[in-house]
C-alpha cells in the first residue's frame, strides 16, 4: 500500500480487507502482521496451546476469546517470549521471533500488558512512563554517569510521557506512586506505558478485568483510538460486550486450539463457539451485558486463576 496514505484510510482499508477473509480457523489475511504456525505448549501432558495456523491482520483490533483454560494467556506468553513453546514458529512483521527473549520481542515492536496489572508500585507515574521509552542513552551504565549525554533524550521522553498521560487523564497523578492508583488507573497506566515505545502491535491481556464500570467507556475509547492512530491491537477478553463493540475480528480458542474466526456478529452466532463456551460453563450468556458488572468480571478472573492452577497440574 502507498506509504503516504492518511492513517484513517490505511485503517479503513485494513478493516475492509477483512470482508473477503474466510470465516474458518486459520484463514489467511490480506495483510498479516503476526503469523503463527504449529505453536504447541503442553503442561504435564495437557496441550495448553496447540495452534495450527493463525494470522493477525495489521491495523485492526482482533479479539482473542474462549472459555477459561482455553490457553489464551499462554498463547500471549509464547508470542511475547515469556514462555517457550514445545514446537512451532511465528513471524512478526517479517521477522521470525521463535525462541527470542521477551525483551527483544518488545524491542521488535510487540508490546504486551498483563492480566494482573504490573504497575511498578514504588515508582512515580511519570517514572513508569519514562521507563517505557526506547533508545535511552542514559540506560547505559557509563553514559548514565554523565548527565549531558542523556538529558536531551530525557526531555523528549518526558514531553511524550506527558502527552500520553494527558490523553489517558493521568497527568494530574504524574508524581504519585503508581501503587497509589486505583485498579482501573493502573490498567490505563500500563497501557500508556506500553505506548511509550510506539509499538506496532499492542497485546492487551484482559484490559477490562477489575476495571470500575465507570472507566469502561473511556478504556474502550482508548483502544479504538489506538487502532485509529495506526497501532494493531490484539486483546484477550472475557467481556463479550466489549468484544462485540470494538473488535474488527474475533478469534475463538478452546482447549488450546483455534476453533473459530470471523467478525464479532458471525462468531457470536457460531454453534461451535457456543458449544465451546457451554462445554466450559453453562451459565455464560454470550454478549450478556450483565457481565459488565464488576462482580461478574472478578468472578471470571478468579475462575481464570483457578483454571491456571489446574493447568499447572500434571
Amino acid at each position: 500500500m502507498p506509504v503516504d496514505m492518511p492513517v484513517q484510510d490505511v485503517v479503513e482499508q485494513a478493516r475492509r480487507g477483512l470482508a473477503s477473509v474466510e470465516h474458518v480457523p486459520g484463514s489467511a489475511k490480506p495483510d498479516a502482521l503476526l503469523v503463527a504456525d504449529g505453536v504447541r505448549r503442553s503442561f504435564g501432558g495437557v496441550n495448553a496451546v496447540d495452534v495450527e495456523h493463525l494470522e493477525v491482520q495489521r491495523h485492526v483490533i482482533t479479539a482473542l476469546i474462549g472459555p477459561n483454560g482455553a490457553g489464551k494467556t499462554t498463547f500471549f506468553n509464547l508470542m511475547t517470549g515469556f514462555d517457550k513453546p514445545d514446537a512451532g514458529r511465528w513471524v512478526f512483521d517479517g521477522r521470525t521471533l521463535g525462541g527470542v527473549s521477551a525483551s527483544r520481542v518488545a524491542k521488535a515492536g510487540m508490546v504486551r500488558t498483563f492480566q494482573l496489572t504490573k504497575a511498578l508500585a514504588r515508582m512515580t507515574v511519570l517514572e513508569n512512563m519514562r521507563l517505557g521509552a526506547r533508545e535511552q542513552p542514559g540506560e547505559n551504565l557509563f553514559a548514565a554517569l554523565v548527565k549531558p549525554l542523556w538529558a536531551p533524550r530525557e526531555r523528549e521522553i518526558t514531553d511524550k510521557a506527558m502527552q500520553l498521560l494527558e490523553r489517558f487523564k493521568l497527568d494530574t497523578k504524574k508524581d504519585d506512586f503508581a501503587g497509589s492508583l486505583s485498579g482501573g488507573q493502573r490498567k490505563l497506566l500500563e497501557m500508556a506505558r506500553a505506548l511509550m515505545s510506539d509499538p506496532q502491535l499492542v497485546m492487551l491481556d484482559e484490559p477490562m478485568a477489575g476495571v470500575n464500570p465507570a472507566l469502561t467507556q473511556s478504556l474502550l475509547g482508548h483502544i479504538t483510538d489506538l487502532r485509529d492512530s495506526g497501532t494493531t491491537v490484539l486483546f484477550v477478553e472475557h467481556d463479550m460486550h466489549m468484544v462485540r463493540h470494538i473488535s474488527d475480528w474475533v478469534v475463538v480458542m478452546a482447549q488450546g486450539q483455534v476453533v473459530a474466526e470471523g467478525p464479532p456478529a458471525d462468531v457470536m452466532a457460531d454453534q461451535a463457539v457456543i458449544d465451546a463456551y457451554l462445554g466450559a460453563h453453562h451459565d455464560t450468556d454470550l454478549g450478556d451485558d450483565a457481565l459488565l458488572d464488576e462482580g461478574g468480571a472478578i468472578d471470571a478472573e478468579a475462575e481464570a486463576e483457578a483454571d491456571a492452577e489446574i493447568e499447572e497440574k500434571p
Binding site: F76, N77, D83, Q115, A306, E309, E312
Partner: protein, 476 residues
Amino acid sequence: MRPVDTVVRPLRPPRTLVALLAAALAVLATLVITAVPAGAAATPCEPDDTTACLNITVTEPGSGPVAGVELTVEGQGQDVSVTTGDNGRASVPLTTAGDYTVTVDEASLPSGKGLLHPEANPATVPVVLGRSAGRIVQVGDPSDAQPGSGGGASATPGATSAPGATAQPTDEAGTGTEASAGPGTNRYAQLVLAGTVFGLLLALASLGANLIYGTTGLSNFAHGELVTLGGMTAFMAVQWWDLPLWLAIVVATAAGALAGWLLNRFIFAPLRRRGVGVTQQMIVTIGLALALLSTYLFIYGAQPVPIVSGISTRMQIGPVQISAQSLVSVAIAVVVLAAVAFTLSRTRLGRATRAVSDNPALAAATGIKVESIITRVWIVSAALASLGGVLLALYLNTTRFNFGSTLLLLMFAAITLGGLGSPAGAVLGALVIGLVVELSTLFLPNDMRYASALVILILVLLIRPQGILGRAERIG
C-alpha cells in the same frame, strides 16, 4: 521483588519420598550384607579359601598415592616387609587368619611428610581367609594432622578491635564418627556408608525447612539454630539433669516443637498478618539466627559440649564398621521420615498441607484453615530440626553453639538440590550432599568437605536450575 503468589511451590507426591527412603536403605543393606571391597581386583593378590589379602594403601589427601613407603606386617608367626608401588599400594598374601600388626616406617615417607594419624601406627588389622582386608594410611604435612573428632575450640572470642569478626567463631563442625576407616574396613564402602548415614540425618534435619518454605515461601535462616537447640537440649538433659539418652531425645524433640510454636505464634504469624513480604520475613530470620547463636554462645561458651562421653561400640559388618548408636539414629530417621511421608500423602492434615503449598488462596477458599496448617507445619518443622539436631550431634560427636549454623548451608544445599518445596527432593538432596561430603575426602583435604558439597550445589543449579525433583516455573 515479586509477589509471593506468582510462585508455584508444589509439594511433590510423597510416594517418591518413600521410594527414596527404600533406596537409601537398600544402599545401606547392600553395603552391610555384600562384602565386595572396592578396588580389590586391581591387586595382584586374589583371596581364595586358603588365602587372605591384606591391602595397604598410602595416600596423601589432595595429591594422591604415595609410592616407596616401607611397611611391615607382623603377626601369626609372620613378619613381612613390603614397599608401596606407584599406585601407593602394597599387597600381602596371608595364609593364616588372625590379627596382624601393620607398621609404617615413618622414615621412608617423602621428606617433610608425616602420618596424618600417627596415633594409629602401628595398627591392628583383623584378617579372615578368603577375604581382602584393607588399610589406608594417610600422609600429609605434619601440621595438617586432624584433631580428633569434636575438634578443639580454636575459636576464642577476643580482641574488640575487629568486632563481628572474632566475636563469632565460625569453626567447622566435627568429623562424622562413621567416616574414619578403622582397621579392617574398606575405605570406599565405609565412606559410602558414612555419607548415607549423614545424608539421612541431614534429611531429617532439613525436611522442616523445606516444609516451611513450601507452605509459606520463607527461607528460614534460623533453622540451623533450631538444630542446635535439639543438640543443646539433649546435652542439658543428659549431662545436667541425668536423664537417659532416649528420654533426652524425646525432651529435645518436644523443646523443638515448643520453639516452633512460639516462633510462629509470636513472630511469624503476626508478620504474615501485617502483610510483611517474604524477603523481609527472611531477614527477620537472619536477626533471629544471630540473636539465638549469640545466646547459645553466652550460655554454653565456645567449647564443645558432648551429649554423651565415651565411644559407642562399633560393629564390623562386612567391609564396614558402624556404631550401634548410628544404626539406631538411622532407624529413627527412617521411621520419622516415613511417618512424615505417610502423613503428607494419606491423612487429611497432609492433604491440607499440600493444598496450602500449592495455592494458599485457593486452599483458604475451599475451607482449609491456612493459618492453623501453617502453625502445625512450624511445630512439626522445628521438632524435626531438633530431633535431627540431637542425632547429628551424636553422629558428629560434637555439640557446639554453632554446629547447627555450620550445617545450615548443607541443609539449604540439600533442599535446593532436591528442588525447593519438594519434601522427596529434600531427602534425595540430603543423601547426595551426605555422600559428596564424605566421599570428597578421598580427593580433597578434610577441611574442604563442606565446600565440595556447596560446589556440587552450584553445579547442579547450572544444569538443572529447578533442582533434581523440582519443576520448572511457569510465568504469567
